[in-house]
Amino acid sequence: MVKPIATLRSASGVPTGRLALWWVIASEIVIFGGLLGSYLLHRLGHPEWSTYASHTNTWAGAFNTLVLLTSSLSAVLGHKAAEAGDGKKAAKMLMFTCLGGLTFLVVKGFEWTYEIQHGYTITANGFWSFYYTAAGLHGLHVIAGCIIMLFVAADARKNKELQRVELIGIYWHFVDLVWIFLFPLLYIAK
């Protein structure tokens, strides 16, 4: 059986596929870090932003945090199943993770609709600009993760390319990590 190149080349001691993913995550840290760092600076410099933040829905944010934490659990259980060679179970877990991502996006959709209808648009002020930019960029990562996960799950179901289950899982945990910090910054600090 021919092994995938992503698991064979490992001059650094880390299989190529996983090494590439860590580089992606390293660059994402700088992207989200710069954005959240800028937000934090402005937030500390503008105490009045807490008034705007009081209009975000803490319960919707908390529910979405629970959804992402649960989807992270299913992602890591999928990885565990892939390690054991159980492609079908791994695919099932990835589909469950994907469902979590979809739930997250639906809740976000309702939340944004409510806020936009009440005049809290991206151009209302600096706080809402950061709110939509940060949550929107994160949402794009959720969408990308879900799409990739569907492809990985389709292969995993046939017991193919099981190493990718771990890779998409690590990416998903990172998306979860970003939300762990977005939640207190945008929803709790009021």
């Binding site: 059986m1 021919v2 092994k3 995938p4 698991t7 880390v14 860590w22 995550i25 390293a26 840290i29 700088v30 870090g33 760092g37 800028s38 600076l41 500390l44 410099g45 503008h46 105490p47 009045e48 008034t51 705007y52 009081s54 209009h55 829905n57 803490t58 629970l66 934490l69 649960t70 992270s72 659990l73 890591v76 259980l77 390690e83 060679g85 009440h118 005049g119 809290y120 151009t123 209302a124 002020n125 809402w128 017991n159 193919k160 390319e161 099981l162 190493q163 771990e166 899982g169 690590i170 945990h173 979860d176 990590l177 762990i180 910090f181 939640f183 207190p184 709790i188 600090a189 009021k190």
Partner: protein, 147 residues
């Protein structure tokens, strides 16, 4: 194509007990921490809010990185790579913080930023920040009450 039983994960996982981790238990701890981070700020005590919201976020991130991303059993240089990126982020913060957070120095004054922090001056300061005036001190017209 890889075979079903082909090893493709962390080579040292077994040695570190990686897959003996009770992931459901870790998830349970994360959910409890989430509840604390939501209920803590309800006390409306600043230090409690900071600790429960941001302190717990760091603990949650640590748990996810260690147990779900398996960073504890990853090659050390990967951890160093991520730490360097976090360091760059902090450098960016430290380098720009004085300019944004301080409103005057030895030879400069940032009047618009200073005015933005004075409630009465919001309407004057808002355009200077490129912000629409509406929700400066009060919600926008027709806005819903705070949720």
């Amino acid at each position: 194509m890889s075979s079903a039983a082909e090893p493709h994960g962390h080579e040292t996982e077994a040695a570190h007990g990686g897959h003996h981790t009770n992931y459901v238990k870790i998830w349970g701890i994360l959910v409890v921490l989430l509840v604390v981070s939501v209920t803590g700020p309800m006390l409306e005590i600043r230090i409690v809010t900071l600790l429960t919201a941001f302190g717990i976020a760091i603990v949650k991130a640590y748990l996810v990185a260690k147990y779900f991303m398996h960073l504890d059993i990853e090659k050390p240089f990967v951890v160093k790579l991520l730490v360097v990126c976090l360091g760059l982020m902090m450098l960016f913060f430290a380098a720009t913080a004085p300019d944004i957070m301080k409103h005057w120095g030895a030879n400069w004054r940032n009047e618009s930023a200073k005015n933005a922090n004075i409630p009465e001056a919001h309407h004057e300061a808002a355009p200077a920040h490129g912000e629409a005036a509406p929700a400066a001190a009060a919600p926008a017209p027709g806005a819903a009450p705070a949720r």
